[in-house]
C-alpha cells in the first residue's frame, strides 16, 4: 500500500497531542515519525532520537542597509508597511517581513536582502524507527515552510524504506504551521479535553480541517475530569458527524512516564495503554478502509 499520513492536532495547546503521538510511535509498525511542532517541539523528549543527519533550514530574507551607500532619502521608511525601519533608518530584523520592497525601491541600491538561517532539521533514529524533526531558530519566522520541509523529508524517508505510515505531531492553533502540517494527509486526529476551551478550539480546528477536505476523528483526553463536558463533546460530534473514536482517562502515569522519558505504552500496563491501543487500531482501520 502507499504511505498513509496521519496528523495529530488539537486547536488548543496542552491537550495531549505529543503523548498520544508518542504512544502511536510505540504501537504502530513500520512507520516514520515526524515532529511538525517546530517552534515548541517535545516529541524528542519521549523518543530520544539519535541524530544521523543535520541540515540548516535557510528561509526568508532580512533587509540590511549599507550606511556608506545610503543617502538618507527615507523612501524605504515611507514604503515599509511593517514598521521595520526606524527614524534613524535602521532595520528592526524582528519586524522585517523580508518582502524586499525597500531593497527594490532604494534609489542608491543601499539595501541588501540577506538570507536567514531560520532553523535546523534532523533525520534521526529512535528505538521505534526513523524520525524527522526540526528546531526553528530563536525568534525566526517561516515555521510553515519548515513544517512543509519536515513533512516532505518524512514522506521521502517512508517511501525509501517502504514504510506504511507517517505519523505527524502537529502544533496548536489553526494558522500557517497547522495548515502546513495538515495539507494532503489521509486523516487528522483531533485531541481535545473536556473543557469549554477544549470544545471551542476543537470545533475551530475541525472546521479548518474540513475546509481543506481532510477526514477528521476526535479523541477526548482526561475525559473523566469533567464527564458532563465530555458528554457535550460527544453530542457535538454526533451533530457534526465527526467520528468520536475514544476517550482516555486522567492518569498520573502520563507525567511519571514523561519525567522518565518514556511513552505510556512502555511505562504502564494499565487502562491507559489499553485505550491507546484501541484508538490506534480503530484509526488504522478507518484510514485503511476509508481509502480502500
Amino acid at each position: 500500500m502507499s504511505v498513509k499520513q496521519i496528523v495529530v492536532i488539537s486547536g488548543k495547546g496542552g491537550t495531549g497531542k505529543t503523548v498520544i503521538t508518542a504512544s502511536f510511535a510505540a504501537l504502530a509498525e513500520n512507520k516514520v515519525m515526524a515532529d511538525c511542532d517546530v517552534d515548541a517541539a517535545d516529541l524528542h523528549l519521549l523518543l530520544d532520537p539519535r541524530i544521523e543527519e543535520r541540515h540548516d533550514f535557510k528561509s526568508g530574507v532580512t533587509a540590511v542597509i549599507h550606511k556608506d551607500k545610503c543617502t538618507q532619502c527615507g523612501l524605504c521608511r515611507t514604503l515599509c508597511r511593517f514598521d521595520a525601519i526606524g527614524d534613524d533608518l535602521t532595520i528592526d530584523p524582528v519586524s522585517c517581513e523580508g518582502c524586499a520592497f525597500c531593497s527594490f525601491a532604494c534609489p542608491s541600491k543601499a539595501i541588501e536582502m540577506k538570507e536567514n538561517t531560520a532553523g535546523e532539521w534532523f533525520s534521526s533514529q529512535t528505538r521505534f524507527g526513523p524520525m524527522i524533526h526540526a528546531k526553528l531558530g530563536i525568534a525566526q519566522e517561516n515555521s510553515g515552510k519548515l513544517v512543509s520541509l519536515v513533512r516532505k523529508k518524512a514522506k521521502e524517508k517512508a517511501e525509501h524504506i517502504g514504510a506504511d505510515w507517517v505519523i505527524i505531531d502537529g502544533s496548536p492553533g489553526i494558522g500557517c504551521p497547522v495548515i502546513a502540517s495538515l495539507s494532503g494527509v489521509d486523516c487528522a486526529l483531533v485531541v481535545t479535553e473536556p473543557t469549554l476551551s477544549g470544545l471551542h478550539d476543537a470545533s475551530r480546528v475541525i472546521d479548518m480541517a474540513r475546509h481543506f477536505q481532510i477526514p477528521v476523528f476526535l479523541v477526548v483526553n482526561k475525559y473523566d475530569l469533567n464527564i458532563e463536558m465530555t458528554g457535550k463533546i460527544e453530542e457535538y460530534c454526533r451533530k457534526e458527524k465527526v467520528p468520536f473514536i475514544g476517550k482516555i482517562g486522567f492518569d498520573k502515569t502520563v507525567v511519571e512516564a514523561m519525567v522518565r522519558g518514556k511513552t505510556v505504552i512502555e511505562y504502564s500496563d494499565g487502562e491507559i495503554t489499553q485505550r491507546m491501543e484501541d484508538i490506534w487500531s480503530r484509526l488504522q482501520k478507518e484510514v485503511s478502509y476509508g481509502k480502500g
Binding site: 488539537s10 486547536g11 488548543k12 495547546g13 496542552g14 491537550t15 505529543t18 517546530v38 517552534d39 515548541a40 517541539a41 517535545d42 523528549l45 530574507v61 514604503l79 508597511r81 511593517f82 524582528v94 519586524s95 523580508g98 518582502c99 524586499a100 520592497f101 527594490f104 525601491a105 536582502m113 526553528l136 530563536i138 525568534a139 525566526q140 519566522e141 515555521s143 510553515g144 496548536p172 492553533g173 489553526i174 494558522g175 500557517c176 504551521p177 497547522v178 495548515i179 479535553e193 473543557t195 469549554l196 476551551s197 471551542h200 478550539d201 475551530r204 480546528v205 472546521d207 479548518m208 475546509h211 481543506f212 475530569l225 469533567n226 463536558m229 507525567v255 514523561m258 519525567v259 522519558g261
Partner: protein, 283 residues
C-alpha cells in the same frame, strides 16, 4: 503599561493567568492576541459592543492595462503572483500585503483591494465586584494562514495610559513575537514537567533576544519534578507565583469560570503579582 502572558508550551494556563490578572487589577483592559484560538471570552463573558473586520491589502490586476511584462512577479518574494501569457494570477493566501507589486507596475495595472482575514470584537466584562474590564479580541477566519496582521490590529487598541494585559498564543514563532513585542513585562506560564521546561527554555531565549523583562508563573506546581525550579534559580529568573493543582480550579476552568470566582482569596495573590511587576518596573 503592557503586560503580556506567553508560554512556549500550550495548555499551561496562559489564559487562566491573563483573565485572573485582568480581573484583579482595577481598570485594566485585556487584549486576546491568540487569534487562532481565542479563549479569554469564554471566561470573561464580555458583552460585545463592536465588531470590526480586519483586512489585508492584496493586488487586483486590471487586465485592460496589464501587458504581461512580469515586473510584479519579479518583486514578489512570496510567489503570490504568476504571470501567464496574457494574464496574471493572484494567490492571495500567499500575499503578505507589502504593496511592492502595485508600486512597481509600470502600467499602473495593479490596485490593492481588501481581503478580510478576521474580525476584532470589543466590549466590556462586568467583574463580580462591580468594576468594568475592557475586552478586545481578534478572531482569525477559518482557513486563513497569516495571523500577525490581525494581531497588529488588535494591539492598536492598547491604551497607553492604562494597564493592558495581552494573552499571547503558544509557541515561539511569528504570532508570539508579534504579540509580546513592545511589552513592558512578560509573564511566562509553565508547568513543572519535561515538556513544560523544554518549551519554557525556548520562550526564555525569545524574550532575551527581544530584551523584554520577564518572570515565570508555575502552574500545577505540585505535579512533575523539581527541574523547572532548578532552572529558574540557575538562570536567575523570578518565580512570580505558584498555582498548585486544585480540583476546584480545574473544575471551574472546565466550565469556563475563573479562579477568582471560585477562590476569591486568589485575587490578592494576583494583585500582589501585579504590584511586584509594576514596582519592579519603576526601579
Amino acid at each position: 503599561m503592557i503586560i503580556s502572558i506567553a508560554s512556549g508550551k500550550g495548555g499551561t494556563g496562559k489564559t487562566t493567568v491573563a483573565t485572573n490578572l485582568a480581573l484583579s487589577v482595577p481598570h485594566a483592559r485585556i487584549l486576546d492576541c491568540d487569534v487562532e484560538e481565542p479563549n479569554a471570552h469564554i471566561f470573561l463573558k464580555p458583552e460585545i459592543k463592536e465588531k470590526v473586520p480586519v483586512f489585508i491589502p492584496v493586488p487586483k490586476i486590471d487586465k485592460e492595462r496589464c501587458n504581461g511584462c512580469g515586473r510584479c512577479k519579479e518583486v514578489c518574494v512570496y510567489n503570490a503572483l504568476a504571470v501567464l501569457k496574457n494574464d496574471v494570477l493572484v494567490f492571495s493566501e500567499l500575499c503578505h500585503g507589502c504593496g511592492a507589486c502595485a508600486y512597481f507596475c509600470p502600467q499602473k495595472a495593479i490596485t490593492e483591494v481588501n481581503k478580510e482575514i478576521g474580525v476584532i470584537e470589543t466590549g466590556n466584562s462586568r467583574t463580580s465586584w462591580g468594576g468594568d474590564l475592557e475586552f478586545i479580541h481578534g478572531k482569525l477566519n477559518i482557513g486563513q494562514a497569516m495571523s500577525p496582521p490581525l494581531i497588529r490590529a488588535v494591539k492598536k487598541y492598547i491604551d497607553p495610559a492604562g494597564v493592558n494585559i495581552i494573552d499571547a498564543p503558544p509557541g515561539t514563532s511569528c504570532p508570539v513575537i508579534e504579540s509580546v513585542k513592545g511589552s513592558d513585562f512578560c509573564i511566562l506560564v509553565t508547568e513543572p514537567t519535561p515538556f513544560g521546561l523544554n518549551d519554557l527554555i525556548l520562550a526564555v531565549e525569545v524574550l532575551r533576544k527581544l530584551t523584554i523583562p520577564f518572570g515565570v508563573v508555575i502552574n500545577r506546581s505540585d505535579l512533575g519534578d523539581r527541574k523547572t525550579d532548578d532552572y529558574c534559580r540557575k538562570e536567575n529568573i523570578a518565580v512570580l507565583m505558584r498555582i498548585p493543582f486544585e480540583k476546584e480550579i480545574a473544575a471551574a476552568y472546565s466550565r469556563g469560570m475563573t479562579i477568582v470566582e471560585v477562590l476569591p482569596h486568589y485575587r490578592e495573590r494576583f494583585q500582589a503579582m501585579f504590584e511586584m511587576i509594576r514596582d519592579g518596573k519603576k526601579k
